[in-house]
């Protein structure tokens, strides 16, 4: 079969050194970090042998920040300054948060009055955004990895719930930047789990990943074939997880206490956190036992002593279980599959340990779910495998992930209606253009409002960004042709551009949702955290620049060795001259100069690259030119 075959650049170059890359599962309840060592994906443990890092951050009275088990141990005594489940607040404004009364934090509305902004939490260390709090968890994991691997990380793959919207993805990326991590890719959690499961079991066929974590629910359907992991459909609920089961038990306990104690006063923050912790422990205990005792003494002197049985747990959380089945049915419909097409259902996330969840899944799919991998670790293990590949390390697992957009993307049109431009479950990367026109005679500007969601009304969708296309020449209503192009990259992040067709006037925006941080905020936060370590930062930048330079020199040299016949002698000379210049610079200490020389070399090879791609493509496409790709 004459298909496009292009040799991998750099394949014939000298084998380069192993580049340190990690996969991070930034979870609601627990976070993990993993790496590929000697071809095996491995979870990195802390000094005490813990694999899981509780996603808990405590701001100490002396200004220190403590993350993990130590912070978790003090959550009941210092709830306001000890933040758990911060992932639920990522990319969210205050209005988005349900159950505020039962969450023991001091929420503050975002400060920018013009747009909806991310919520903030009042702690003794001041106002903190969820992005900053998440960055503390990432910093702790990064430190663990660098200690364990003995070197600087080239980059990280960070997992996000498949059903995270653009705002939540941007927030996660911002948190990674604050933590000083180079993000190789944001990877959907169920896809990461499928990679670990698929490789481990040499699975081929169609698989469902049912992923119920601490705060989010995802369901993805993937086709696994010869190393290609193709997501057919994904769905979920970004605000449904194990935490909600704790919450239900907590409310049940409060009701029980009120039955015997009519004058029961509202709980303070310490008691709320204490009872929530007891609820979680009871839930976990009931996985292997018939009944759980919940005993504790509250600050107001009330003694709580109630018994929760497994059937009672099923009863009070039944509607949460059925809430996971609706997205599951949607994903099955979108994938256009019947139950008998499914070769296996993989359970992921700590909450899937609950027996009644397993029963419900088994009943729906009419097959026993697969639970042979640790549901807590499988996401991080898969992320590490993808990180290893994206860092440029050669791998035996020649796998490719084709993921999709979880939610439709569209524009506001007249009357507050949404016109969808990219439909959910479209394979990434994707670019789609649609033409719009003016509404009034002589209209010279157009406001482009980008939204995400499935509903018909703009007010029911999430607003991602607004920008304006100005200087449209005055024309009769309906005469202007404005072409709006949506592009979603492999991270699932969106950029939008608009162009008036007759004049060529353009406007472009990287969609930076108002829930994220502004560029200035990130810069000043980064400055603050790097002030003491400015030299480290310089050293790291130099090291990264050198690694990049080495990689491009070897890949261009390898390409010249094979395909130099495609370009003229003058062009070859020009490229070789740039290679020499870059080589000379790599021994110097100036990262900026190296990066500039890399850019120059990149630029010098553009014609060559196009010629090489053309040569390979033309083998299959009988003379068609690649410049003619019309997106």
């Amino acid at each position: 079969m004459a298909l496009l075959q292009i040799s991998e650049p750099g394949m014939s170059a000298a084998p380069h050194q192993h580049r340190l890359a990690v996969g991070i599962d930034l979870g609601t309840t627990n976070s993990l970090i993993a790496t590929v060592r000697s071809s095996m994906s491995t979870i990195l443990q802390d000094d005490f042998g813990h694999a899981l890092l509780p996603s808990v951050v405590r701001y100490m009275p002396n200004g220190d920040i403590v993350v993990g088990h130590e912070a978790q141990a003090h959550q009941s005594e210092d709830p306001i300054n000890t933040i758990t489940s911060v992932k639920r607040f990522m990319g969210r404004s205050l209005n988005d948060i349900a159950n505020k009364a039962h969450i023991p934090y001091r929420f503050v509305e975002g400060t920018d009055s013009t747009t909806t902004r991310s919520l903030q939490l009042q702690t003794r260390a001041g106002l903190k955004t969820p992005i900053e709090i998440s960055a503390e968890i990432l910093k702790a994991l990064k430190a663990r990895a660098e200690k364990s691997l003995g070197g600087e990380l080239v980059g990280a793959v960070i997992t996000v719930p498949a059903y995270f919207d653009d705002a939540q993805r941007q927030a996660t990326k911002d948190a990674a930047r604050l933590a000083g991590l180079n993000v190789l890719r944001l990877l959907n959690e169920p896809t990461a789990a499928a990679v670990a499961y698929g490789l481990d079991n040499a699975a081929e066929g169609t698989f469902v990943i049912y992923d119920l974590g601490g705060g989010t629910f995802d369901v993805s359907i993937l086709r696994l074939s010869k190393g290609v992991f193709e997501v057919l459909a994904t769905n979920g609920d970004a605000a449904l997880g194990g935490d909600d089961f704790d919450q239900r038990i907590y409310c049940w306990v409060l009701d029980k206490v009120r039955e015997t104690n009519a004058n029961f006063s509202p709980l303070n923050e310490e008691d709320t956190r204490l009872l929530l912790t007891k609820a979680r422990q009871a839930k976990e205990w009931l996985t292997d036992n018939f009944e759980a005792q919940i005993v504790c003494k509250l600050n107001n002197g009330t003694l709580v002593d109630v018994t929760l049985t497994a059937p009672q747990l099923v009863e009070v959380t039944e509607h949460l279980v059925s809430k996971t089945l609706s997205p599951t049915r949607k994903a099955m419909r979108d994938a256009k599959l019947n139950l008998e097409d499914i070769n296996g259902v993989v359970m992921v996330g700590g909450a899937t340990r609950m027996p009644h969840i397993r029963h419900a899944v088994q009943e729906y799919f009419k097959q026993e779910p697969l639970t042979n991998l640790d549901p807590d670790k499988v996401v991080a293990l898969g992320a590490a495998i993808q990180a290893n590949i994206l860092a440029g390390n050669k791998s035996d697992d020649d796998l490719l992930l084709l993921d999709v957009t979880p939610l439709s993307l569209g524009l506001e049109t007249m009357g507050g209606l949404v016109e969808k431009v990219i439909h959910r479950n479209s394979t990434l990367p994707i670019a789609r253009a649609q033409e719009f026109t003016t509404y009034k005679d002589g209209q010279t500007a157009m406001s482009v409002h980008v939204v995400q969601g499935e509903r018909e009304l703009v007010s029911d969708c999430r607003s991602l960004a607004r920008f304006e296309l100005r200087s449209i020449p005055p024309m009769a209503a309906g005469a202007a042709r404005i072409r709006v192009t949506f592009t979603v990259d492999a991270d699932g992040l969106l950029s939008v551009s608009a162009r008036e067709q007759s004049t060529g006037i353009e406007a472009h925006i990287e969609v930076k949702p108002s829930y994220g941080l502004t560029e200035d905020e990130i810069t000043s936060m980064l400055k603050a955290s790097f002030n003491s370590a400015e030299d480290d930062k310089k050293a790291r930048m130099l090291a990264e620049a050198r690694v990049n330079a080495g990689a491009i020199i070897s890949s261009v040299s390898a390409a010249l060795a094979v395909d130099s016949n495609l370009i003229s002698a003058t062009e070859i000379e020009a490229i070789e001259a740039e290679i020499k210049k870059l080589q000379a610079l790599t021994t110097a200490e100036d990262a900026t100069a190296i990066n500039q020389a890399v850019d120059t070399l990149n630029h010098a090879t553009e014609t060559f690259a196009a010629a090489r791609m053309n040569a390979s493509v033309s083998r299959a496409l009988a003379g068609k030119n690649l410049d003619s790709i019309n997106l």
């Binding site: 490719l400 994707i430 990149n602 690259a609 791609m613 690649l626 790709i629």
Partner: protein, 176 residues
């Protein structure tokens, strides 16, 4: 430099005809992505990465068009400069329009009655109708090369696709 867009069928090295083998399309799509996806060009110069990204985007678009019979037929007609959904192509047989209205009324009734089984039933009937239109298109596009009739049938198929999408949406709303 010529400016002919790459033909979707050629991209996946399959014969340009309406009746295509879905298994071959699927496996060639995977092979194309496997060879050209940007993730395969991690340490390549930015210029090659960009081309890989464009090619991957094109392959995704081409695959989504070819695997849907309605989009595939519309695309094949576009290759002959026929826009199946152009405003000038509005003529629809009265009989088909009546049928359409009937389906839409039944969907509306089922929605009011929250009757998902009835919606599934209508979806099943539409599936049968789709299959017969697909057979007609194979005949018209691949054998008779009758583009005028093919355009009319393609329009019907596109309409039915829309009705099916509406049914899915109603089922989804009722399911929530």
């Amino acid at each position: 430099m010529q400016n002919t867009p790459i033909n979707y069928f050629e991209l996946f090295a399959i014969a340009e005809q309406f009746d295509l083998d879905e298994t071959t399309l699927e496996s060639n799509f995977r092979k194309t992505q496997s060879a050209n996806h940007p993730d395969r060009f991690i340490s390549a110069p930015a210029s090659e990465k960009l081309v890989a990204m464009q090619l991957a985007t094109l392959a995704n678009e081409a695959y989504s068009v070819l695997k849907s019979p309605a989009k595939r037929a519309k695309y094949m007609l576009e290759q002959h400069s026929i826009d199946a959904i152009a405003d000038t192509n509005t003529a629809m047989p009265a009989e088909f329009l009546m049928q359409q209205m009937e389906w839409r009324e039944r969907i509306e009734d089922a929605k009011m009655a929250r009757n998902i089984a009835e919606l599934d039933e209508i979806a099943g009937e539409l599936k049968l109708e789709t299959n017969s239109l697909i057979n007609e298109l194979h005949e018209l596009l691949d054998i008779k090369k009758d583009l005028t009739s093919a355009t009319a049938v393609t329009r019907k198929l596109i309409f039915i696709d829309k009705v099916c999408a509406d049914i899915d949406q109603v089922i989804e709303q009722l399911d929530d």
